[in-house]
């Protein structure tokens, strides 16, 4: 995936915040995935319809992190979620 991709969250995928983390569950396939607070923030911004690049722009203001490291983390997470059908593209 790249920074211009705009992930969407399929209707059958839902998330619940528990403590400071978030668990995502795919109701159709029964797969689940745990997100730490940073991952949960990325997920939340995906749900707002932002591209991966826009997600990075937003989070650069919120976290003490370099753009390169943040972009790598955002793309890594998006790849993993896509692989498990927890997001889709296009």
């Amino acid at each position: 995936m790249n920074l211009s991709d705009k992930p969407t969250i399929p209707a059958q995928v839902m998330a619940r915040k528990v403590g400071d983390e978030t668990v995502i569950l795919d109701l159709a396939g029964g797969t689940y995935y745990g997100l730490d607070p940073v991952g949960a923030r990325i997920w939340q911004l995906m749900g707002e319809g932002k591209t991966l690049g826009e997600i990075c722009d937003t989070m650069l203001d919120e976290y003490d992190v370099t753009r390169e490291a943040l972009q790598r983390d955002v793309i890594d997470l998006a790849d993993k979620l896509l692989e498990q059908n927890l997001i889709s593209i296009g």
Partner: protein, 288 residues
């Protein structure tokens, strides 16, 4: 719990012209049960033993035994396999877990088959701690917490656990056709707690690859994932019910009561394991 359970006269199993939506196999690969959706509910087939119809709302279960299969086997399949699924259809929280009473509260042991749930429950019971269930743990919300509902008063054990834990004169239930596990009835030497108890701890059992008894507090997200894994859910493809279940489990996972527990699997160490659990369950302070 309100379930109408009936057993029909024995009838040979007929082929089903439908692909099962789910299958359970035993660790050795043997097909154990097949799940089919029907117009009015679900059909669970245990090949060569029995078919069970479960109504869509989980309030009615009908058993159709294969000729020659004992009533005990049919009832046991119902109690251990079918009833928890039917209760799940009613929206109840049911898990693969055993539970015992420590102090005036319930302590649950959750884990896959073979992780030691029944052995731990039997070990506590034979030491004077009443057990609430040896599998099929049902929880009900109760004010700010949950309570463990008593299950049926018997414990199933493999031969090695039986030899190590159970006095030779302890009464057993009639043997079942599908397992070499023995089933022990609650009584003086295996006391049973027949009233609900507040849930104080849930321990997820490790695989025994440790040299000492270890406890590790779990974060709510990890607890939620493990609670999902150990739930009795009949139909994972029904979004509305699953969403409600997910909500309920999320509330449950938010309680500060979850730990990973591991210990060497040696019968001679069980007394020390019990003592460590008792101390942990009764003295471990709640997090801020």
């Amino acid at each position: 719990m309100s379930i109408v359970y009936s057993v029909a006269p024995p009838v040979p199993q007929q082929p089903i012209d439908q692909v099962p939506f789910h299958e359970w196999s035993l660790p050795d690969g043997t097909l154990w049960s097949l799940f089919f959706r029907r117009a009015t509910g679900y059909l669970l087939r245990f090949p060569d033993f029995a078919d069970f119809n479960i109504s869509y709302d989980g309030h009615e279960v009908s058993a159709y035994p294969v000729p020659g299969v004992s009533q005990q086997t049919v009832d046991h399949l119902y109690l251990n396999q079918v009833l928890p699924l039917a209760l799940g259809r009613q929206g109840k929280l049911v898990f693969h877990a055993s539970a015992v009473e420590i102090g005036s509260a319930a302590v649950a042991f959750m884990g896959e088959s073979g992780k030691g749930k029944s052995t731990l429950a039997a070990s506590f019971a034979t030491s004077g701690f009443r057990f609430l269930t040896d599998d099929g743990l049902m929880l009900e919300a109760n004010g700010s917490g949950y309570q463990v509902m008593p299950s049926h008063p018997s414990i199933r054990l493999w031969l090695d656990s039986k030899t190590a834990l159970i006095a030779p004169d302890t009464p057993t239930a009639p043997a079942l056709e599908f397992t070499s596990k023995s089933r022990f009835l609650a009584g003086e030497s295996i006391p049973f707690c027949d009233t609900p108890r507040p849930l104080r701890r849930v321990y997820f059992l490790g695989d025994g690859s440790t040299l000492a008894v270890t406890f590790q507090r779990m974060k709510p997200a990890a607890a939620l994932i493990d609670l999902i894994k150990h739930s009795f859910l009949l139909d994972f493809e029904e979004p509305e019910m699953l969403a409600a279940h997910f909500d309920e489990l999320s509330s449950l996972a938010s309680l500060p009561i979850y730990f990973r527990l591991d210990y060497p699997r040696r019968y001679e160490d069980l007394a020390a394991v019990r003592q460590a659990i008792i101390e942990h369950a009764t003295h471990e302070s709640e997090p801020a």
